[in-house]
């Protein structure tokens, strides 16, 4: 049983992402039981965000290809080839003076809500339907769990994981493809993937799904929880 003093200490380390998975769960249980801890945590998170800001210089614009890949993943009508799949292996805050801040933040919140409302909906589900209509191959992945891969001829694919049980936050599903006799990561999908887009280049002979530590791995040492052979 962790006492309040220890939780107070852990909250700071938690905000820095510096606690174990077990301690993370303990902190989150405590947060659920004592809402006053949330305010303490938010202060630490704001400090952590300021530290992240300290890493930035003036111009940090990412290469244009990054946005093209994001756009391709969320809108298949503007799809462009994603980066080679082995790269997908990793797929795995400023205040003003007090009076002015109130108005500024109010505007920001309204703007953010408006912006985020644009994100609602599930364009990936639509993309999967369109891919099926266009003749993409549907491959049921079977094993301890069930999922489906929908793979188009151009290598664009979707992992449909509605039936997958949600993992703990420190775990992730990872999809692997056997391409030209090499096992490569097709994507780190997170602990609760509904639909995830990926892209593979080459002659794919099989897919496998594993459970890995959050962030994914380069080489899996886990048994597949579901798999399918292409063309079987």
């Amino acid at each position: 049983m962790i006492d309040r003093a220890e939780i107070d200490d852990l909250l700071a380390a938690y905000a820095l992402g510096a606690v174990s998975a077990e301690e993370q769960r303990a902190v989150e249980r405590a947060l659920g039981k004592d809402p006053s801890l949330l305010a303490v945590l938010d202060e630490h998170l704001a400090t952590a965000a300021a530290l992240s800001d300290g890493l930035l210089t003036g111009d940090e614009t990412p290469p244009a290809a990054v946005w093209r890949r994001i756009e391709a993943a969320i809108d298949t009508k503007t799809a462009v080839p994603a980066r080679r799949s082995w790269r997908l292996r990793i797929l795995s805050t400023v205040a003003a003076a007090a009076i002015a801040t109130t108005a500024v933040l109010a505007v920001q919140v309204v703007l953010q809500r408006a912006e985020l409302s644009d994100l609602r909906g599930d364009p990936l589900a639509l993309a999967v339907d369109e891919a099926r209509d266009a003749g993409a191959v549907a491959l049921p992945l079977t094993g301890e769990v069930s999922a489906e891969v929908v793979l188009a001829a151009d290598g664009t694919g979707y992992l449909v994981g509605d039936a997958l049980p949600e993992l703990d936050p420190e775990q992730t599903y990872q999809l692997w493809a056997v391409v030209d006799d090499r096992v490569i990561s097709a994507g780190v999908l997170g602990p609760d993937p509904a639909i995830a887009a990926f892209h593979v280049d080459g002659d794919v002979s099989a897919f496998a799904l594993t459970v890995e530590v959050a962030g994914g791995v380069v080489v899996s040492e886990q048994a597949a929880v579901a798999a399918a052979a292409v063309g079987a």
């Binding site: 930035l56 290469p63 994914g216």
Partner: protein, 166 residues
């Protein structure tokens, strides 16, 4: 989404690039952060901070996951040669160099040395507080308390400098 990316993509990518110190990996982190926002927008709660702070936090978290993953790989492949090197500068020096903001550097520099090293290794270096304790040769409980004390001091300093949110 394009508007959000235009507004925050640079900051997200910048944080990732400083932390993972690899352009290609930072691009992967940036892509992942925005796709996570797209797929799970409900994870952002405007009552708990700005969207910018949320995205930077996510960029930090994804980057740390990556650092830990990459460190695991290196540990397997190189038999921990990196960590056993006695001539290479410690990672606290490398990550310290990544801090570009003079205000943040000054706030960190004003901390007692062990508090500063604890926060730098944990937040910028991706170490757990237990790993920090081991690295610094300090008790785990003491390190945990130092991190808390450091965060409270930093909050005061960074708020007075107008860097941290109230």
């Amino acid at each position: 989404m394009a508007r959000l990316y235009d507004r925050y993509g640079g900051a997200v990518h910048g944080v990732a690039r400083r932390l993972v110190r690899d352009d290609a990996l930072a691009e992967d982190v940036t892509q992942e952060v925005f796709l996570r926002l797209w797929r799970r927008p409900q994870r952002f709660d405007p009552s708990r901070g700005t969207l910018r702070a949320f995205l930077l936090r996510d960029a930090h978290g994804r980057s740390i996951d990556l650092i830990r993953s990459e460190e695991s790989r290196r540990a397997r492949e190189e038999h921990d040669a990196y960590r056993s090197s006695t001539e290479a500068p410690g990672p606290e020096h490398e990550v310290w160099e990544a801090v570009r903001s003079e205000k943040v550097r000054a706030a960190l520099a004003a901390l007692p040395e062990l508090e500063r090293d604890s926060v730098v290794l944990a937040y910028f270096g991706g170490l757990s507080y237990r790993e920090v304790a081991e690295r610094l040769g300090q008790p785990e409980g003491t390190t945990k308390s130092r991190i808390r004390a450091a965060m409270q001091r930093l909050r005061g300093t960074l708020m007075s400098e107008g860097v941290a949110e109230a």
